[in-house]
């Protein structure tokens, strides 16, 4: 069974239709790459999955459970949306680290706040907080940042900041980790270190959706690729097939423009 099924998502901003009839599914442990030019709706799609935007039509199903159904207001209750967001992790283009916290605090803050809501928190406070800290340090080490845990975001390079942001998203153990153009705000020499980390996550069978402009990376890492244009899915399938032998004219044009640059 697919871990994620998206059915017929549609989204308007005022009179502008930004997403139309978006459907796809994702298996556990797979990586899905979404490519397409700016304004094609890729980012809006990720934001819909994270409940930062509310789709006008369609359903979002995770592990067989309908998290969102535009036709069913019961699935849109504010109080439950907060919990539903935890199925997804999100890594933003501009990192959005909390500047007043150290790298480690950025990774552990949300876990600590969630732990406080558990009924047994008071009884085991010290143990729970210690576990969260150990887990946070492990994640930073996994990102190659073991020696940076006490640094504040402004003391880190863009690539390091983005790796902290990945650790922060992983800390809550999301079912599906979403990346919104994770390297677009980075200098070319810093892009590699972030892509390497995402590649290693793919090797560990992390379920991921990656919106990216790095075509070679998408081809090598993804199990499935979607090309979007004008708010619709133009072509989807095997990465090598879509990138090397696209069927649709629009995909060919997009990739040709990319090859020129």
């Amino acid at each position: 069974m697919a871990i994620l099924e998206v059915h017929n998502i549609e989204k308007h901003f005022g009179a502008t239709r930004v997403l139309e009839d978006i459907s796809f599914s994702l298996e556990q442990g797979q990586a899905l790459a979404i490519i397409g030019s700016s304004g094609s709706g890729k980012t809006t799609l990720l934001r819909c999955l994270n409940f930062l935007e509310t789709p006008d039509q369609g359903q979002i199903v995770v592990q067989g459970k309908t998290l969102f159904d535009a036709a069913d207001p019961d699935t849109q209750r504010e109080s439950e949306i907060r919990k539903k967001r935890l199925h997804f992790g999100m890594v933003f283009q501009s990192f959005n680290l909390f500047p007043q916290y150290t790298a480690l605090q950025n990774v552990t803050l949300a876990s600590q706040l969630l732990a406080k809501e558990q009924p047994d928190f008071k009884a085991n406070k010290a143990n729970i907080l210690a576990d969260i800290e150990v887990h946070g340090k492990e994640l930073l080490a996994q990102m190659g940042l073991a020696d940076r845990s006490g640094h504040y975001p402004h003391q880190l390079s863009g690539g390091q900041q983005q790796r902290v942001a990945i650790a922060r998203a992983l800390a809550l153990k999301p079912d599906i980790l979403c990346f919104d153009e994770p390297t677009s705000a980075l200098d070319p020499e810093l892009t590699g270190e972030v892509l390497k980390v995402i590649r290693s996550l793919a090797d560990q069978k992390t379920t991921m959706i990656i919106v990216t402009h790095e075509m070679a990376f998408a081809r090598d890492v993804a199990d499935q690729i979607i090309f979007m244009d004008g708010g619709v899915i133009v072509e989807q399938g095997d990465p090598h097939q879509v990138i090397e032998h696209p069927r649709e004219e629009r995909t060919k044009q997009f990739l040709a423009r990319y090859a020129e640059n």
């Binding site: 919990k83 933003f92 959005n96 909390f98 500047p99 803050l109 949300a110 706040l113 975001p153």
Partner: protein, 228 residues
């Protein structure tokens, strides 16, 4: 010079009493205007447009007219127009009227600083909190509040130092603050008359107090300098 030294103890005693009233007005204004400013800031950012426009209209009027006129209107309006001087005629009434005028005036200035501070925190900070499953209040208190405070400390310091000096405007309704106390020796008070130096000397009080405030506020700014 000898005369000044002779007059000094009497004058200082009087100025001290006046400065105490100045300080009282200063602190009461801060205590009232800091929270009221936040309420006005929320009003001016409200999604309910009539409230938003009404708040912005009030802020425009209050910031666009002299505080001295506001003091005069607030103090004299009830007695002259409504024929009911609810402030009474004593020093307490003058103080309350001054405090009302100052709190309202400063709250409007603070509200604009807060608005800038709140809107200056990038939207991405809130979104990062949301995708991490935080509640709205957790996002406000754990994520945005400190960033907001950091942004508003420098402009607030400016306003606070201006407030110290602005309290002297309450002299216009005869509040017995330090300018009033210094001026008394011109007309004659406690056996001293025709002396202008006490009035000039009040500047020393303002200068010293603002010196202390500048150091304290500078320290606060430094304390928040650990992040960008």
């Amino acid at each position: 010079m000898e005369l000044i030294l002779e007059q000094m103890p009497v004058v200082l005693h009087s100025l001290n009493i006046g400065f105490l009233q100045t300080l009282k007005l200063f602190f009461v204004t801060l205590i009232g205007a800091i929270p009221l400013g936040l309420i006005i800031a929320f009003g001016s950012m409200s999604r309910f447009s009539p409230l938003r426009w009404l708040t912005r209209l009030i802020v425009w009027v209050v910031r666009g007219t002299p505080l001295m006129i506001q003091l005069l209107i607030i103090y004299y309006f009830p007695g002259l127009v409504l024929k009911n001087n609810w402030w009474g005629s004593g020093e307490t009434g003058r103080f309350i009227a001054s405090a009302v005028a100052f709190i309202f005036n400063y709250a409007c200035y603070f509200s604009e600083i807060y608005r800038g501070g709140i809107q200056g925190v990038p939207k991405g900070q809130q979104e990062a909190g949301m995708v991490l499953g935080m509640t709205k209040s957790q996002i406000f208190f754990k994520v945005t509040l400190l960033q907001m405070i950091k942004r508003i400390v420098p402009p607030m310091s400016n306003e606070i130092i201006t407030l110290v000096k602005d309290t002297s405007l309450a002299r216009i309704i005869a509040l017995q603050e330090i300018i009033w106390a210094g001026q008394a020796f011109l007309k004659g008070s406690q056996g001293i008359s025709g002396a202008i130096w006490p009035l000039f000397f009040t500047a020393v009080y303002y200068l010293i107090f603002n010196g202390i405030l500048t150091v304290l506020l500078g320290r606060l700014e430094q304390k928040l300098d650990y992040f960008r």
